[in-house]
Symmetry: C2
Subunit: 189 residues, 2 copies
């Protein structure tokens, strides 16, 4: 998706080969118009897949996910990175974040996923797929169907991409990074 790739080229900051900082339009400051274009792109790709719910992870997934919720006209659920005291009955999974070098308990209240749901998972980044595997476990526990995966930016040289493809999920990444260093970001065409 050209608009997103151009934004990454213009504003992305490569911290090292594992960390791309895109906080001027996605992770901290949000370009709402770009997120609307992103949602439009995902809608065009997944509109025939009978999606009943959008699932994402707090916090940076919420903006694109909510705009997808509008396009698909379905509820959005965001996975919490903790187990709130007000949730008494949750699906849970442990996720390790390599970026932050710590683990957290991902959770979704059991009321918000069920065996009739056909889920599109939306997230800002895909790297090793740790967060994705946590989400996959939660969806499996709920007996919902994880149908499709939409990622804004993937580091295709890490393990997440191959894992999702091998599992057979319908998959779309809007910007696929082949390699990056402090001087250059190379995208897969």
């Amino acid at each position: 998706m050209d608009a997103l790739i151009n934004k990454i080229k213009n504003e992305g900051i490569v911290i090292n080969e594992n960390i791309l900082k895109v906080d001027s339009f996605l992770n901290h400051q949000i370009d709402a118009n770009l997120m609307e274009e992103v949602a439009e792109e995902f809608y065009n790709y997944f509109k025939n897949d009978n999606i009943t719910k959008i699932l994402t992870i707090e916090s940076s997934g919420i903006a694109p996910a909510v705009l997808c919720g509008l396009k698909f006209n379905v509820p959005v659920v965001f996975v919490k990175k903790s187990v709130p005291s007000t949730i008494t009955n949750a699906y849970q999974a442990t996720v390790h974040s390599y970026t932050k070098n710590k683990s957290y308990t991902a959770s979704v209240d059991k009321r918000f996923l069920n065996d009739e749901d056909n889920i599109l998972f939306i997230d800002d980044f895909l790297a090793n797929g740790e967060a994705f595997r946590g989400v996959e476990s939660i969806v499996q526990q709920s007996k919902a169907n994880l149908c499709a995966v939409g990622i804004l930016i993937e580091k295709a040289y890490q393990d997440g991409h191959a894992y999702i493809i091998n599992q057979g999920y319908k998959f779309k990444a809007l910007a696929s990074i082949e390699s990056m260093n402090e001087n250059q970001i190379n995208f897969i065409k």
Copy 2:
């Protein structure tokens, strides 16, 4: 705002007089269409205030804030509840959450607020105003102008409402709760 008040009446769960659970449409599962109506309401109220940026707090403020960003056609910045390792230069404030009974460091990268900004702060809840005062401190540090405050649900019997009014900010709450208990939620008309 009737649509929001009706949703609270139908789906809100009063845990105790301090905690109202609205996780079926706002804090965990999100009703994107309702959030669009919310943004429309805030736009109608604040559209002549020369807003240049929407500010909110992760995570539950992001959905309504992003839809406000679209309506006002301005960037959205969400305050982080920690100081990410990739932020080297941040405005910070300590915020105590009574709901979670712990404190966190709110932060905004200095690149995303400046003395030309005219800010509309959007958040899901207003109670004691602790989070608001943290945001106010951050905005003051940045020399931006905090112009307006839009809250989805306020517990008007707690201290935040009076604080914001006394400080002279233009203020709009879409649902104002006068009192609540396990059996009933009373709204200010």
